[in-house]
Structure formats: structure tokens, C-alpha cells
Symmetry: C2
């Protein structure tokens, strides 16, 4: 809008108001929102700066030298450096805020900071919100009558906290029975436990990916950042419906359903908790924090909040961000005073699982144009382009879960997951290498792609006439038959008389609708960002479906933009990875909240051009 | 210590680092801690400044003119005033912080602020922590998909709050059933309830004076600041002992006792709650806040914290200040998410009831030298002298509650509460005007004073010999008899053969010990402050005992300093008044916390000179 070229330049170089930090000698070059500390900027990008306190401003070890740019001298800097050093640009990285572009020299490490690789190649410096501190207190006398809690507070005067009632209740007793030698557990600004003796070696957190279908729990050792046990199981809410819409419908039909689903969801979390604790042989009361990444419906049901407004237009959640609750309040069976972090949501249909996914993939810290697609009944799509992050939800329907497919089945033993046609020969890959009994989502995509490739399906997705089939695919045309009702099927397994697994014309249509919905979604996001298919540099496919899907087939049917197969990346369980990250690093956690301001949610359902675009996407790319 | 006279002057005029505010045209002259807003300084002293938001920074009505002194221009001032007005010293009182001496002109009121008179002549401007706000929200659409909580938040953007889980659980349902017309209840930074429709007329709080002996509940209407019902009853913990020491001992004898006392204490609070609600005909769920003033032992037992360390040297409490709890956490049967304010304590034996008392008497806002004495088994003493506030506890023993007295009884029907000797004639005043059956504390003090006055007790507190008695009190000497065991008694009621109520030599000794303990307490405080008896300008006697005690007798036996009788003031239930104040005004509440920094606790039990002074105080003043 501005006609002043200088203004435009400034605005472009600043991106979303970001500042640039160049680190030497590593050569790392990062862009962060203004106000972020140099320590955080480095930490976020896996660059280690010396520190024993983890950036809490107490160890004074995170010394760096500002080579270019301005960072004011802080109160802490004065204690850490001589005036000559200050004049030479020496600062403590944990209090040095980058409010403009900086060039920063990082001295070699004297201590090896603990870091963990999580998410999609994200390197996270260990800095959990949970801090355990062993202290030996002086015993009170008539000359030192400090109340118990103040005595403890004074021994940890670098931490600010308020004590939970549960801690205050037992504090006098625990202090006296342990000769005033105790371990305090602080999470953010809360003292959540005081334990007798030195228990700093036992410090655990629990990450949940609370999916509509599957729930995954990862137990973390916060002293090392490593996972101790991972368990998954089907969400016990399954009997109430396969997807969020059927679960919400259940609550509208039956007043009991909401409560029963809450109980079922909690039972799932708690059974997993018991399993990971048993496997790692730890006491659940040494789990001080849990992070839960789930979609808006799963989270509302878990908390006992009516999900109905999420399910019906105009699709409203109770909250975008949730306060921190206690495990006791939520009902998770770990230390009752442990804190529960619930991921915030971008919108009613782009929930906390996707926020966790964006965090885990580092989409907000990358200049490339990337798409994150979580394929499912409700498909979430995120487009990042360095300056802009856009997200939307596309109602894909159950085709990818093969629920509405004639011979469809879940990705279990006997499901055809791979379909290839090579030199006129049909090849099937079946899960468990057993006799095929059905077809799952990835097999469906493969089949439609392969049949379209050889010409048995035309661009409109219709099976070609028998005579055409006989001509172009003489080794396969017998599998294409017309049944009594007039519908045509392609037999994948079995005989013409007894076709055990087949693809019907209707199945192809179902898949076309699903892929058109998703393709319309990312195409509209690209349009919003002023980009085209050709600009996309990477597609991340999230979730377990993403790991089974053949990139070639996905491109082939137009589910994802046409780009080199290598750039279609299976990102795995990014929701679970994001949940781990926020437990390992409170810096990453604040990043999750920051994302809400950085990401724009695009509602598709009220776009006048949605239907037109959708019909264009129905065709199979020729 | 300083030899520089200028330094000394500065330090004296600054008092405890206070600044002086002169208000015109009222002429009110107040001293407050630096940093206090002009609005608060005025409000604390009952001086009204125009405001409809109660000093929350939203109405921009609290316009004042700084005539002398400096107050920086705030962001809010810029919106409220022209640059000429700002240059003329116009500021908003609610953001104008007094960091130096100021002279402030207050324009005449355009609205009449609500205020309540509570405590000892304290005028409190109504500004409760509880705020109820009726809002009519716009219904969501596809173009306005704000989450429910954000929609509510946006409608009250002058308040910052975090929502309780209990609120979030019901929010979607309540909004939709009430057509998005709701009343929000915010206490400090917490959204604790959302109610359908406009319920702003129902806004209640509950003040508790949680005494070891008696518990008093006052139900307040926060819309007017007036009490709606007051009820009191004996603390149901009585069976475990009459005073805090016996209650603590009970927990040390019997592991069950602590839990049973907690239940009994809660039962007392809840029975009173039910009674005041019934009398005022209100729903307990419209009580959004409660304040509890109690001694450290009562508070710890109520919360389920082991009180043993409070009871044995070196006398340590679990906490001096308590976080804000919910009614549900504590077990008070009002709205479960209502907030519970527990008064902080000065020390193990000068508890929250005394902090409340100091607040109610305004001892911290008065330049006079004043003593607040709460007479009981444990006697709390506070000395204020404008610059210094000192406090201590004196172990007076049970004499004043007449528990260790031969014919002692509680202040109930049949108790002799007044004893006078007039022209040789003994006059008794009995509670309920019935036949005397015993003597209570105030009667005991009267009796000892009267007998010493006419000479039947000498200065050492010994009954004089029969022959001396016959000479100086010929009408009374027959009442002074020697019993078989050799002990001498003075008969108050009954005959020599059947003395129903009498005073024994041992009773006189008990009283001497008790009064010596208290007198040593205030005398040591005066000494610490560099003052003498003659400097004391007022003595406030707190509690119900204070209202029965004859000032003349109290002076006469040396229980209080010798000053004109008019200056011995019965201050009533100052703990309960303080509890009301913090509910009516969040400004007063912060005052309670500020007191902790301003008041110095003096521990008597480790003073080497305590015993010497104590023996000096045993004598009756001649």
C-alpha cells in the first residue's frame, strides 16, 4: 500500500516484525520475534550456549559477545562483567534481548548442555518447567523464627513461587522428619511438592497425543531428556463414534454420553500412564507435569466441557488457550498437584494437536514454503512461508480411513496397503503378509493412482468401457466387471465369481471427494499467501496415515502438490513430538502460545469460491 | 547512631519511609508508604474522590490536581487530559503514585461513592475484590468465531482474569441457554462464575472471626457494604481444650485429634454460614469470597497443617502469608469456586486476628502512641507510634478467663462481673441479675483492685493480717477468713460457714502473674521504641473481655499504663471488623500485607531481661 520504497524495504526485511541473529563461529543465521533473548534464539535453533541454570539468570555462564548491533547493559550484566568487557559487547545471553539485528559471537562450550532431538530434526536444549532442587535448611531457633515456607523460599531465592495447599499441609511434618533436608519441586511459579531427602534423580513428565482414534503416551526422564517408555492404545471413546463429529452427535442424542466419554477418555490416559510407569518402573507420583495435545473436541470432552458448539455452525470452542490445571482437577493419575499443560488451538477444527505439530516441525522457524497435512476425516492443513503461517481444516470424510469404502478396513493385518501395476501385472502389499481381506487408506490411494495411470480410470475418475479396458490393459481387463445393479468394480483379490477385495466406482468417487476437499484447502491457503503449487518446497504428512501413504500416489491423485517425491516427507506423530518438546523446554512452550498470534486461521466453510474450486479438484491429474 | 543532624532529620520526617499527602480543600493530611496511589491514600483515609470504577483505571473520573510535588504523566493520563491540563498538574488519582510529598486538590464530587464505616472509626470506600458484571454478548457467526471465553473477555476488556476450570466447564452451556446475556463474577484475577441473566443485585461475602473460643460470622452485601446477618457460636473444637496450647497438646497426644479438630472447626464455620444465609434469605452460592481472621494455630488446624511446631519452642508457623484458596479446597460451604482470604500473621502467637485488628483500628495510619491489647490466655500486644509498630505476645495464662480461679467461671449468667467497694460497702454486679454462682475475669480484676484500694491487699498482693483488716475495713473484715489449710479467702457472696463465691490468696497471685506478664510485654515494647508509659495516648482493649473490663480497675492493678480513663477504649471485635474491611476493599486487603513489612515482632521468650522485669511488675501499684 505504501508508495515509499524505503518503508517497503524495511517492512519486507523485517518479515513478521522479526529480527535477524547471526551466530559466529557456527555461522547459524536465525530470525526471531523482537524481544526474544539471545539465549532463547540460540536454544530454539539447537545452538548451545554455556549455561548450568538453563537460562534462568542465575549461573552467569551464558557469556556471549555482541559483535554487531545494540543490546543494553542489564543489571545482571553489571555483576557478571567488568566495565571493559561490557564496553566490548560482552553480555549474558539469557537477559540479552534482540530488539534489532545482531551478530553474536558464542565462545566454545565449557560444559556440555543437555539437549534432545525431537520432532522433525528439532534440537531442544533441556530446560523443563519442572525444577527439582535439593536443599539443606538451617533448623529454626528462637533467633530465627522464619516460617517453614519462608525458610525454604530463602534457600531457593532465584526461584519465585507460590506454594500449593497440598504442600503447605505437609511441609512442617516433612521438614522435621527429614532433618530439614528436602527436595523442592517447582513447576513454573508453583511449588507443587516437597519431598524428604535428595530425590533429584527422579524427575519425570508425561506427554500425551490424545487422538480421536489412538492415544499415545510417552514417559520422559527430565534429567536426561530421554523417553523411558512409549505406549499407545485405541481411545476408549471409540464405541461413541469413529470421528469427532460422531462423538459430538452422541452427546446431542444422549445426555449421558458426554460424561461417559469423559470417563472413557480418562480411562485411556490412566491405563497408558500405568503402563508406561510399570515399564519404566517408576512411581506415578514422580511425574510432575503432563502435556496433552489433542483436537478441540477431545480436549473439551476430557475437561467435561460440552462439545456441541464445536460441532455445529458457527463452530465455537469454549477457549482457545487453557489455564494450567492440576492433574487432580483433570483426573490424570500422576502426582495430584502435577501440572497439566493443554495445547492451545488455532480453531475449532485445527486443534492443539496441530499446534504441537507446527512446533515439532519448526514451521515457524523456517523460510521455506512448507505444507503440513494431517490427513484424516477432518484434515488439518498448515502453510508456512517464512513470513506467513496459514491454517485451515478440510472436511475430507472417512475415505482415507476406508470407513465408507466397500472393502475398506483399518490398517490392520490383512489390509492391502500397497497396490502397484507393473508391466500389466497387479502387485499387492498386505499388512502382516497374510491373505488380503480388505483395503486400507494407503492401498486405496495407490489403487486409484495405478488404475488411472494405466488408463482404466479416466481423468474424471470413471472406469473406462470394457472395450477400452481390453485394449489398454489386456492382462487386467478381466478384473473390471459390471455387477447386477449396474455398478462397476475392479477386483483386487479373489475371482470374478467371488471377489473378496475390490474397488467400486463409488469407492473411487469417495476418494475423489476426499482428495478434492484437501487439495482445495491447501490451494486456497496458497492463494491467500499469494503463492502457487510451484512455490511449495516441502510437504510434511503427519500422523500414522502419513507414514503409510506412498508419496508418488499422493502426488499422482493430486492429494498434494506436484513436487519431487523426496520432498514429500512423512513427519510421524508430530503431535506427540510437540507434547514432548513443551515438557523438555519451557521456552518451546512459550513458543506454542506465540504461535497463536503468528498463525492465521482461514475458515473454508464461508468462502463463496470454495464449491467452484472443489469441483475443479475432483478430477484426477492427467 | 548518625552524628549528622541533617540525616537524622530526614530520617525522622520520612518515618518508615512514608510520604506525606495534603488534600485540599478538605485539609486532610495523611502519610502513606511511597508508591501508593493518590486514590488509595484518599480512600484509606475516608476521603472520597470521584470514581465509578472504584479505582480500576477505567472510568477516568478520578481527576485531581497536583498542586505541589511531582507525579509523572501516565499512559492513562494522556487519554484523559489535554496537554495544558497535564502541564497544570491534572492527573487520574488511581494511577498517580505518591513517591514524594504531595499537595493534592480534589474537585467536589459529582457522584456519591459508597462507603462503609467499619472497625474503630474507619471509613472504607467500597471497592471489593469481587466484581460482578452483566454483559450482553454478540452471538457468534462464521465471521466471528471467537471462543466463548474470549468473547466474554472482550466484553470486559478492562478486567484481566483467568477462568477457573469450573467456569470453563459450564460456559458454553450457560451462554447458549441465556442467549449470551450473562453475569460474570471476577475476584482479583480469577473468573470464578458466569451466571445466566443479570444477577448483579446478589453479591455477597462472608467475614469470619475464627476465635479459639468463639467464632463470629458476618454476612455482607457487597453492593451496599452493609452487614446482612451476624451470628456467633462457640468453636466446636472446645472439647479438645480451652486455649491454643491445649489444642496443640491434644494433637501431640492423639494422632486423630488434628483431623477431628479440623472437622470441628469447619463444622463451626459451616453451621454459622447456614445460619447467616437463612437469616438473610440468600443462596450460599452467591457468596463469592470469605475472609478468615484467626490465630496461627486456628488457621493451621483449619487447613489441615500440623500445628505442633507452633506450640513448641522455637514456635514456627508453616507460613506467614497464605495463598488465596478456593472455598472448595478449604471446605467452606459457599460457592465452591469462591475465594478464601486468610489473614497473614505477624508471628506464631500474634496471628491473623491481630493483623485484622491493626487494620480495623488504623494503628498504622495514626501518629499517636497507641497500644492495642487483646487480653486472653495468650495476650497479644501491639504498640504503634507513627514511625514504629511493634508487636509481641505475652503468655498471660488462664486467669482472665477465670479458669484457674477457685470460684472462677466464664462470663455467663450468675458470674460476678463487677465488684466495687463504696464507703465500706461491697457491691456486686452479676450477669443476668441472678444469684451469684462464680466470678468472671472482669469481676476478678475489679475485686483485686477494690481490695487493694481499701488496703485489704497490700502492694505485694498479700491479704493483710486480721487485726489490720479490722482496723481499716471494719464493715468488711469479717469476710476475710483463714481456712483450715491456712489459706486466706475474701468472701464475695455467701456466709463464713458457706462461702459460695470468694477470692483466695492463690487467685490474687494468679491475677498478679497474668497482669505482670502483660505489663512486661507492653513495657518492653515501649522500651524498644524508646518511649515510656507517659507517652501512651490511647489503649485499645480488643475482644469481648476488653468490653467488660473496667478501665479504672485495669489501670488500678497495672494491667494497662496509667492514663486518663477516657483513653482506655474498648475496641470490640476488631478481628471481625478487619475481616469485613478486606472484603469491602481490596485496597485495605493490600494494606494487610503491607503491615507485615511495617510491623516488627518482638519475641519475649528469649529476652534475658524478661524475668527481672516480670518480677517488678508483680506488685500492685500503690
Amino acid at each position: 500500500m505504501s508508495t515509499d520504497s524505503e518503508d517497503v524495504t524495511t517492512s519486507v526485511s523485517a518479515g513478521l516484525g522479526r529480527v535477524q541473529l547471526q551466530f559466529t563461529p557456527s555461522g547459524t543465521d536465525v530470525r526471531v520475534p523482537p524481544g526474544v533473548t539471545v539465549f532463547d534464539a540460540a536454544s530454539w535453533n539447537g545452538l548451545a550456549i554455556d549455561s548450568t541454570c538453563g537460562g534462568h539468570g542465575t549461573c552467569k555462564k551464558c557469556k556471549i559477545q555482541i559483535v554487531e548491533g545494540e543490546v543494553p547493559v542489564s543489571r545482571l550484566d553489571i555483576r557478571a562483567f567488568s566495565s571493559e568487557q561490557l564496553a566490548d559487547g560482552w553480555r549474558l545471553a539469557c537477559v540479552a534481548r534482540a530488539n534489532g539485528n545482531l551478530k553474536v559471537d558464542v565462545p566454545p562450550l565449557s560444559t556440555r548442555p543437555k539437549a534432545a532431538t525431537v520432532g522433525v530434526g528439532r534440537q531442544v536444549i533441556l530446560r523443563p518447567a519442572v525444577q527439582k532442587r535439593y536443599v539443606e535448611l538451617e533448623e529454626p531457633t528462637l533467633h530465627d523464627q522464619r516460617p517453614d515456607i519462608d525458610r525454604l523460599r530463602d534457600a531457593m531465592d532465584d526461584l519465585e513461587f507460590e506454594a500449593d495447599l497440598s504442600v503447605l499441609k505437609t511441609l512442617p511434618t516433612i521438614l522435621r522428619k527429614s532433618d530439614f533436608k528436602v527436595t523442592a519441586v517447582v513447576v513454573d511459579e508453583h511449588l507443587i511438592a516437597v519431598e524428604a531427602g535428595d530425590t533429584t534423580a527422579f524427575n519425570h513428565a508425561l506427554a500425551f497425543d490424545l487422538g480421536t482414534t489412538t492415544v499415545v503416551a510417552t514417559l520422559l526422564d527430565l534429567t536426561t531428556g530421554t523417553p523411558m517408555a512409549v505406549k499407545s492404545m485405541l481411545n476408549k471413546q471409540q464405541p461413541f463414534g469413529a470421528d469427532v463429529i460422531s462423538r459430538i452427535s452422541a452427546t446431542m442424542m444422549d445426555p449421558q454420553a458426554q460424561g461417559l466419554m469423559q470417563v472413557a477418555g480418562l480411562a485411556t490416559l490412566n491405563e497408558l500412564t500405568a503402563e508406561v510407569c510399570a515399564e519404566a518402573n517408576i512411581d506415578p507420583n514422580t511425574i510432575y507435569e503432563t502435556a496433552i495435545a489433542g483436537n478441540a473436541t477431545m480436549v473439551q470432552i476430557l475437561l467435561g466441557v460440552d462439545p456441541e458448539p464445536v460441532g455445529v455452525a458457527p463452530f465455537i470452542t469454549a477457549a482457545q488457550q487453557w489455564p494450567t490445571f492440576t492433574a487432580h482437577e483433570v483426573g490424570v493419575e500422576i502426582l495430584p498437584s502435577a501440572r497439566v499443560f493443554l495445547f492451545p488451538a488455532f480453531g475449532a477444527y485445527v486443534g492443539g494437536d496441530i499446534v504441537a505439530g507446527v512446533l515439532a516441525t519448526g514451521m515457524d522457524r523456517d523460510k521455506r514454503v512448507r505444507l503440513l497435512i494431517d490427513v484424516g476425516t477432518n484434515c488439518e492443513i498448515v502453510l508456512s512461508s517464512g513470513d506467513t503461517i496459514l491454517t485451515t481444516a478440510a472436511p475430507a470424510g472417512p475415505a482415507f480411513e476406508a470407513a465408507s469404502i466397500a472393502c475398506g478396513m483399518r490398517a490392520a493385518d490383512g489390509a492391502i496397503e500397497v497396490v502397484q501395476i507393473n508391466k500389466g501385472e497387479l502387485k499387492l502389499g498386505t499388512i502382516g503378509d497374510v491373505e488380503p481381506v480388505g483395503i486400507c487408506g494407503s492401498g486405496l490411494v495407490d489403487a486409484v493412482y495405478a488404475l488411472h495411470q494405466i488408463g482404466l480410470l479416466d481423468d474424471s475418475g470413471r472406469f473406462v468401457a470394457d472395450e477400452v479396458a481390453a485394449e489398454i490393459a489386456p492382462t487386467l481387463n478381466e478384473r473390471l466387471v459390471t455387477r447386477e445393479a449396474g455398478d462397476r468394480i475392479f477386483i483386487l483379490h479373489g475371482t470374478v465369481e467371488d471377489p473378496t477385495v475390490y474397488l467400486s466406482q463409488r469407492d473411487v468417487r469417495e476418494l475423489q471427494f476426499a482428495k478434492a476437499s484437501i487439495a482445495t484447502g491447501w490451494r486456497l491457503l496458497l492463494e491467500e499467501a499469494g503463492l502457487t503449487d510451484d512455490d511449495v518446497q516441502q510437504v510434511l504428512l503427519a500422523g500414522s496415515f502419513g507414514s503409510y501413504l506412498s508419496p508418488t500416489s499422493a502426488i499422482g491423485i493430486g492429494l498434494v502438490p506436484k513436487l519431487p517425491v523426496m520432498r514429500i516427507v512423512s513427519a510421524g506423530n508430530v503431535a506427540g513430538e510437540g507434547a514432548k518438546m513443551v515438557l523438555l523446554s519451557s521456552t518451546e512452550r512459550s513458543g506454542a502460545t506465540t504461535l497463536l498470534d503468528e498463525v492465521d486461521y482461514v475458515e473454508l466453510s464461508d468462502r463463496p469460491d470454495f464449491n467452484d474450486k472443489f469441483f475443479l479438484e475432483l478430477a484426477l491429474p492427467s
